[in-house]
């Protein structure tokens, strides 16, 4: 005999379509030509980092803003809202609980958006490879443009990673957002496999 509360729990939708937009993302094709190049150049030279320290690596990001490393030289700056940032640095191990937030924040960023995996944990789980709640490969959940390996990588390595990312952006290869939209179902399946209490729409606008 099932209890009434449980019945309702089963029937309950995990999100309310009145409260959440349930549209799926679309690919926005690149406009070929000089304008796109110009925009790419601007994107590369104005990387705004989403200020979201997901793991232990975020402590390595602080020196970036200091006088010693000063990433503002490259037009980079921390930005407190994903709406306005275009670079998401996953700084270290991502537990399942954090992954949910990572996905949400990632989806809230606007289309040309870049992800940098920081540290070994994002590559293959690092020292947490056999943990029961830490993901191993970040690129199965969101598209990653650059990995900076190490445990932890030094700021110099990060800057090198930025340079690499900028190169990719300028070459037009950093199309993570479109990739995500293209392989949306695959990503969602992977995400839903680990995130058990999925209480949000498929795409968090």
């Amino acid at each position: 005999m099932t209890m009434i509360g449980e019945e309702n729990k089963n029937e309950k939708k995990n999100f309310d379509t009145e409260l959440f937009c349930d549209a799926v993302p679309k690919e926005v094709p690149r406009i070929n030509g000089i304008i796109q190049k110009f925009y790419d150049w601007a994107q590369a030279n104005s990387l705004w980092i989403l200020a979201f320290g997901t793991g232990c690596g975020s402590i390595e990001m602080r020196p970036l803003y200091t006088a010693r490393y000063d990433i503002s030289r490259f037009g980079m700056a921390p930005r407190p809202t994903p709406r306005q940032s275009n670079l998401f640095i996953i700084s270290g191990y991502a537990s399942v609980k954090t992954l949910k937030r990572i996905v949400r924040s990632y989806e809230q960023m606007q289309n040309p958006k870049f992800v940098m995996g920081l540290g070994s944990c994002t590559v293959n789980g690092g020292m947490y490879w056999d943990s029961y709640n830490t993901i191993n490969r970040l690129d199965h959940y969101i598209p990653v443009d650059t990995y900076v390996a190490g445990c932890m990588p030094r700021p110099e390595a990060l800057i090198a990673g930025f340079e690499d990312l900028k190169k990719r952006i300028k070459e037009g290869r950093a199309e993570g957002a479109n990739e995500y939209a293209k392989n949306f179902e695959w990503y969602k399946a992977n995400q839903k496999k680990v995130i058990k209490d999925w209480d949000m729409p498929d795409y968090n606008w």
């Binding site: 789980g125 490879w129 029961y132 191993n136 995130i195």
Partner: protein
């Protein structure tokens, strides 16, 4: 301290007295005596602070060992009160009425070991894991490697580079040999 141990022995039939330090002692009591013992320690012996509740999975004996760590602010001493509960149907009396802070520990134990604490508010809510639907992960019969490999898309070609091994094999090979030899000699002499 010693008088206190004597009293405990008398009152609750405390066993396995393990005096780790001058200020730290462990002992175990029966499951049914635990609440009374903790209450006694709190009210009469001055152990007013619940530092934490820890659990150990004694899979061999089929029990969970619970340890209630209490601290006395007056004479700066700690006690660990152990008790053993059945692993098949793990359930323990909740002490959240004595310390509101116990709720957090009990919630965590419920999630990680599956030990139930009837009467503890929100004990069934997820603590650190969201939507966990497997065996409680801290139990010894939960195979975390297998789970991780099944769930988290392990990246092939992964190899472990332990720092100690690395140093012994590559950087300081000679010193490592010497160290091994010394160790061998010592073992022989023993």
């Amino acid at each position: 301290m010693e008088e206190m141990i004597e009293r405990i022995k008398l009152k609750f039939n405390a066993k396995d007295i393990n005096r780790q330090k001058a200020t730290l002692v462990f002992f175990s009591v029966e499951k049914k005596d635990l609440e009374a013992c903790v209450l006694y320690m709190k009210e009469f012996e001055g152990y007013s602070n619940l530092t934490m509740i820890s659990a150990t999975d004694w899979i061999e004996t089929g029990t969970f060992g619970l340890t209630y760590h209490l601290h006395n602010y007056k004479n700066r001493t700690d006690v660990g009160i152990k008790t053993y509960i059945d692993r098949k149907n793990p359930s323990m009396v909740s002490i959240n009425t004595l310390w509101a802070g116990a709720r957090v520990f009990e919630r965590e134990l419920k999630e990680m070991f599956g030990i139930d604490f009837p009467g503890c508010p929100r004990v069934d809510d997820p603590f650190a894991l969201e939507g966990w639907d497997n065996l409680p992960p801290m139990r010894k019969d939960f195979d975390t490697v297998k789970y991780s490999e099944e769930t988290y898309f392990p990246r092939p070609g992964r190899s472990t580079k332990d720092n100690v091994t690395q140093m012994e094999e590559k950087l300081y090979a000679v010193e490592a040999e010497v160290k091994k030899g010394i160790a061998k000699t010592v073992r022989k002499n023993k």
